[in-house]
Amino acid sequence: MLFTSANFLLFLLILFALYQAIPQRYRWATLLLGSMVFYAFSGPIFLLYICATIIVSYVCTMGMRRIWERCDYISEGTDDKALRKQYKAEAKAASKRWLVTALVIVLGLLAMVKYTDFVIGNTNTVLGWMGADRSFGFMRFALPMGISFYTFQTVGYLIDVHRQKSKALPNPFRLALFVSFFPQVVQGPISRFDMLGKTLYSGESLNGHNLTRGGMRVLLGFFKKLVIADRLWPALVVLTSYPEDFMGAYYLFSIGLYAVILFMDFTGGIDITIGVAEMFGIKMPENFNRPFYSRSIQEYWTRWHITMYMWFRDYLFYPMTLSKGMLRATKFCRRVLGDGLGKRLPVHISLLWVWFLTGLWHGATWNFIAWGLANGIVIMLAQELTPLKNRFHARFAGAKTNRIFICLQILWTFWLMNMIRSFDIYAGVRNTFGMMGSVVTDFGLGDFLTRGLSELTLYTADYIAAGAGMLVIFWISYLGRDGTDYRDKLKNNFHWVARYAVVGLIFFMTLVLGAYGHGYDARQFIYNMF
């Protein structure tokens, strides 16, 4: 069931009615029921996967909970610190066994459906290189909706329970709601239990404040998705389906276009997710913070898909760099390479490994792996060049606050990220590098200016509509430039007539200029495919 479908709006209305009709303490159960129904729409068989994840997580976290409770109980009975420490170490080891069991099964499910054919395909290629005349058949597992997102969210919960950051939920159905909460299962954000759990089960009554506030955010999500992303999408399909016809200047146009589409599509989806949750009084983490204003790639990744970045940082990068093995490796490197590079090299290795996995998480293709590694390499290079950067700023002290310099940094970061994102849209790593190279070898500005955009299946009116939409989004982004939510800005700084007019404008622009209904193919969110 697409967020941007009439069915979803009808589903929401029914859920609102049921939710409100039920006593507060059971309302979370309505959300669970709604989530399961929503998930079943993607294919009833997929319920088996998500239920397996829930059951395994429940059994294992309850196992951990019992261990930690026993540890606490025994520790309370003694004043001997050494004994307490020993109990804790034993409990940690036992809890770790539950954690590893859970991770193997939960991540194994993800690996099975998402990566089996990737492994088979590569194995067949290697066998072909070796001259073997046999190959393995593909399994062709259907990918359950949002499996990458709910799996990572569940893994986060499992680790938090193991680390005693969160207490294991004794009610399996509550855990089921945390894993499957319908707005976030499509494309995240990847929530943490200690944050989402605070409001997920509160059963807050529907009220005008939440409904209008959440509704405004949902409306903005529809606007971004339908007026801009989906309207421009057919042009991107043409540009990337026939790359040999659209090289050089067209390539730059394509990656710029993709940046706009991906941003509008992903943030639009997240707006709908967070907005729907807000309508039920549930607070979800923000996933974006005006990423195209980033002045470096490091900053970009603290503003774009924030929850994913933080997940990899907290559950993979930090544990890895602080692991005993890596600390030993650091010691060894410092001894061999000296304090500078010797200290940084293990961090770079961890960084590349994490970005390799980030790429793999996005999709089982070499393109995504190349995308991940490209991010890692650029961040690594940026870190290596930090001394040079520092020397530059010491020499030109005013540059940091110079508007032109800031604009150049923003533009540089934007286009650098666009180049890296090329791996998302072109088939094959070699092709992608070929397209990048075409900027130098075959720029073809004259060809671009002559042919223009006429071959991209869109009319001038489509570009005007999307352009008008982008202006609205830019204005809204500008409103929130000091970090204040644009809805608060509208409420506090605008007369109610102007406020209503703005909301009305966004609504009617979506209604009239949106790419939906007759003549359009309803399109799932891009991140739903990851």
């Binding site: 009116a461 109610w496 209503y500 009305g504 609504f507 209604l511 009239v512 200029l513 209904g517 007759h518």
Partner: protein, 353 residues
């Protein structure tokens, strides 16, 4: 009133106003190229006093002239037909009509018996959008929707026609507050001539049997007419370019026989009617032009008068005045079209205004 309530009332009123304003602006006005989307809605302004009701597809709205029936026999009539109007749409239009009046005779043109399933969204729209809301319309939509259609866009046509923002023109503003008039009592006036040329032999079909659904609705039309004690006549208009195989004709003959209905295949009476397809068709034999339609109406009117003893109502002063105005308009439009043809070689303005 509290300020919050004032804001809500004002906001909601503005929302409704803008929504329906936009809808009115973007929905096609059917004032140029395709006029047929305006045919069905015109019935509701017709006065609901008709002796004869024609239902069917394009073979009714172009082939029978209500003005000729009035001027020759004093019979009032209305045509409820649109291009490719499916039989279940005709049935629900008949139901719809019977909510407002009880005609003395119902005439159904049988060409659409060939369709047993919903065909085309564009044609559905021409028929269904103009119907006034009620159970007949709801049932007609349910029966007609193709897979690509949805209910919501029938309730709010803005959702279907929103993309017309690219092609908004002067016509959309000119007819914002009123609909253009496209017919005289459902009859589309065409005074131009395009003779029948070479007509290719119709491709043989695997199956000539009319479908179950088509038959079921023909039965329902028959029953509905009988329930209201209104004679039903089945007709097949004389259109040489429209395939009407003998085996189809025979099925209608059999049906009429079984149900004791009158069936007239006008193609059998070309000479009696006085039709010459070098002069009496505007699109190479698919439909009659106004002169052919007048001839057919005079011929058919004679049969109706003879068979059903329909009264000559030209003596009813109020009715005569109203129909006099219609006839004046009709003749003015025919004269204007002839003048345009003489001057430009084609009709520039097809509206009946």
């Amino acid at each position: 009133m509290r300020p919050a309530i004032v804001k809500i009332v004002v906001g909601f009123s503005a929302f409704v106003l803008v929504f329906f304003g936009l809808q009115r602006l973007l929905v096609p006005k059917y004032a140029s190229d395709i006029l047929h989307g305006g045919l069905i809605r015109e019935y509701y302004r017709s006065g609901f006093d008709h002796d004869i009701l024609f239902i069917g597809d394009c073979e009714v709205f172009a082939n029978f002239s209500p003005i000729a029936l009035w001027e020759e026999f004093g019979m009032t009539s209305f045509i409820r037909g649109t291009p490719q109007q499916l039989i279940w749409q005709s049935y629900y239009l008949l139901q719809d009509t019977l909510r407002f009046e009880t005609p003395r005779v119902i005439v159904y043109n049988v060409l659409s018996m060939q369709y047993n399933e919903p065909q085309n969204e564009a044609y559905n729209r021409l028929t269904l959008d103009g119907m006034r809301w009620g159970m007949p319309k709801i049932r007609a939509i349910s029966a007609s929707m193709t897979e690509e259609e949805d209910w919501l866009s029938y309730i709010f046509p803005l959702l279907r026609f929103k993309d017309r923002w690219r092609e908004i023109g002067a016509e959309d503003f000119r007819y914002f507050f009123r609909d253009p008039r496209v017919s005289v009592n459902g009859f589309v006036i065409r005074a131009d001539v395009r003779p029948v040329g070479w007509i290719p032999a119709p491709a043989p079909r695997a199956n000539y049997q009319f479908g179950d659904k088509a038959y079921a609705y023909l039965e329902r039309i028959t029953r509905l007419a009988a329930t209201h004690d209104i004679p039903l006549i089945l007709v097949k208009a004389p259109s040489p370019a429209t395939p009407w195989p003998d085996r189809w004709n025979q099925q209608i003959v059999d049906f009429a026989h079984q149900h004791d209905l009158m069936y007239i295949n006008f193609f059998d009476y070309i000479d009696d009617i006085g039709l010459d397809f070098n002069y009496h068709t505007f699109n190479a034999g698919l439909h009659l032009n106004v002169f052919g339609a007048e001839k057919l109406a005079r011929f058919f009117g004679g049969i109706l008068q003879e068979t059903f003893d329909l009264p000559d109502r030209r003596g009813e002063a109020a009715l005569a005045a109203r129909w006099g105005e219609k006839a004046d308009l009709y003749h003015r439009v025919v004269a204007r079209q002839l003048a345009e043809i003489a001057r430009y070689g084609t009709i520039k303005n097809l509206l009946v205004e």
